[in-house]
Symmetry: C2
Subunit: 362 residues, 2 copies
Amino acid sequence: MKRVYNFGAGPAMLPLPVLEKARDEFLDWNGLGMSVIEVSHRSAEFEALLTETDNLLRELAGLPDNFDILYVHGSAQMQFAAIPLNLMPLKPAHKAAFIESGHWTVLARKEAARYGQAVTVATSEASNFNHIPDYDVSTLDADTSYVHITSNNTLFGSRWNEFPDTGDIPLVADMTSELMSRVIDYNKFGVVFAGLQKNLGPSGMAAVMIRKDLIGHAMPQTPNLLNYDTYAKNHSMPNTINTFAVYMMNLVLKWLKDQGGVPAIEKINAQKAKLIYDAIDATDFYRGAAQKAHRSQMNITFTLADSALDKAFLSEAEARGLYALKGHRVVGGMRASIYNAMPLAGCQALVDFMQDFERRHG
Amino acid sequence: MKRVYNFGAGPAMLPLPVLEKARDEFLDWNGLGMSVIEVSHRSAEFEALLTETDNLLRELAGLPDNFDILYVHGSAQMQFAAIPLNLMPLKPAHKAAFIESGHWTVLARKEAARYGQAVTVATSEASNFNHIPDYDVSTLDADTSYVHITSNNTLFGSRWNEFPDTGDIPLVADMTSELMSRVIDYNKFGVVFAGLQKNLGPSGMAAVMIRKDLIGHAMPQTPNLLNYDTYAKNHSMPNTINTFAVYMMNLVLKWLKDQGGVPAIEKINAQKAKLIYDAIDATDFYRGAAQKAHRSQMNITFTLADSALDKAFLSEAEARGLYALKGHRVVGGMRASIYNAMPLAGCQALVDFMQDFERRHG
């Protein structure tokens, strides 16, 4: 069986032991004589799996007790509507502030504008989002319902290193491309959400970690399945949950625990990223796309000085089992997404290839 | 490896050859060296899979050309909000009519009431939904935006045998528990939708078949990912689609084609249902819950004349590999869900057990 190093931005590489376990028990889960995707979400066995997943996520994230965990339909982007529908009413002005560091923050702001005032308070768009914009949160209007940020920018390869202290105004963070890859102090946040398909499992579902006091304020027009209260009151099963996604996330979290948890994986992730960034910085043949101070540890964006070589780079890489390195069209060049499941050996293989490619084409 | 007959209402039994194929290629799909759940939804390989799935569904359903197929997040229940958000504006009165034949129609009506007038024009609630209520659709108000029905009632074990001709008023049908189990004339409908987790795959996603002229009328407050126009314009991939659900649905549809398609499976389904209904009707020991004229071919509801025997029935059944026969609490007794993937042999095993149980306890 062939396996490649998949540098795609998501759906993304998953840990091999997780895939092997899922395969081995695909026809008979838990000795029940059926697949996990055939089992009722209302069965005692599935309910136990869900509770175990809660506990694993809470323990590994270090999530405070005053937070609820919700598993919601529709990947992260559905939350671009759910967040304003649930949080705009926190203040009478129905106003939300956006610190725009990339494509997804812009989309979130546009969606929020359906439900109130969606204000761009800072943006790095003028420099094609190659850094996190500076912003003094103490200048926020006091009647702001919440502040929205994207903690890691998948397309542009930047990340927030330190998170702002927004005081009484809840900070909402889209952590889709980095949840569980670094230690986070959740006390700084009101809501953290992430689609699973990068660090946690397959696509289609998102995890929402939300301070309990922020639940129960939704606008009357909120669809029942976008209302956090509906999920909180029904252990995320007001209707049939994405059972396969919960199951895969459970296996991924167990794997993460085996690796030593988030602090351990964060160290490995830093090593992996450094390896590639060092290779980029060692030559003029390659150029990092994001500003050094704001570089992502998950998505490494770089261009070739001579973009005429892009095609050769990609096809030679693929021939060596280094897959999906093409950058997003708005940045161009290359992007190596190196989520938790990408082993150090995969990053080393990429660096070896980059150096070899330069020797032959430089 | 143990395998049982799973009579659960959903997530439900899937065809064994489908599960085996998914298992066998779980680590290396399409020779790509990665799992299908690791592949980018934007890859050429996944796009081809999605298109192939469209074509299979269209061909097997016999779907007319003036219909679009959309794959949407959140199982069928998310559509309880999406339908009114997209269709209420078809008429200025923003009024929808509900012919209530069970729990899910009631829930759909309550959700629609957020977005306009949601009118119950007929209901069988007074007899605990043991039949499809009579209703003369020619008495519908002309300013009705759409009529909502549930074609098969999973909880109560009833179904619509013939569908009403609502003329210019679009007929919307929730076919979650019977899509692709019987031949349907889609020309009678404006929208047909179904969660996958009964006849088509795993949970978390729904398929929507919608007449093209009904797309593009959504209310301004519609979340982007509940707007049919968003899905129609982006081949159901405005954001990351549930790739695993598409893949499994693709395999299930290929299996269905191998069985001879919908007309062939409909005949087998009728045989399967008759076997069990005949066993119920042959004795006073068991009693069918739904009126005979409206009996479902997918969900067979029945009670034991002596409900004190329920517990013994369920535990003895499970010991024989007949799983999840417990009825929903609002009906009580038993429910045998016999979707496409349940083989005739499973129904025969259930009948054998029922007769044996009666001999010993009758």
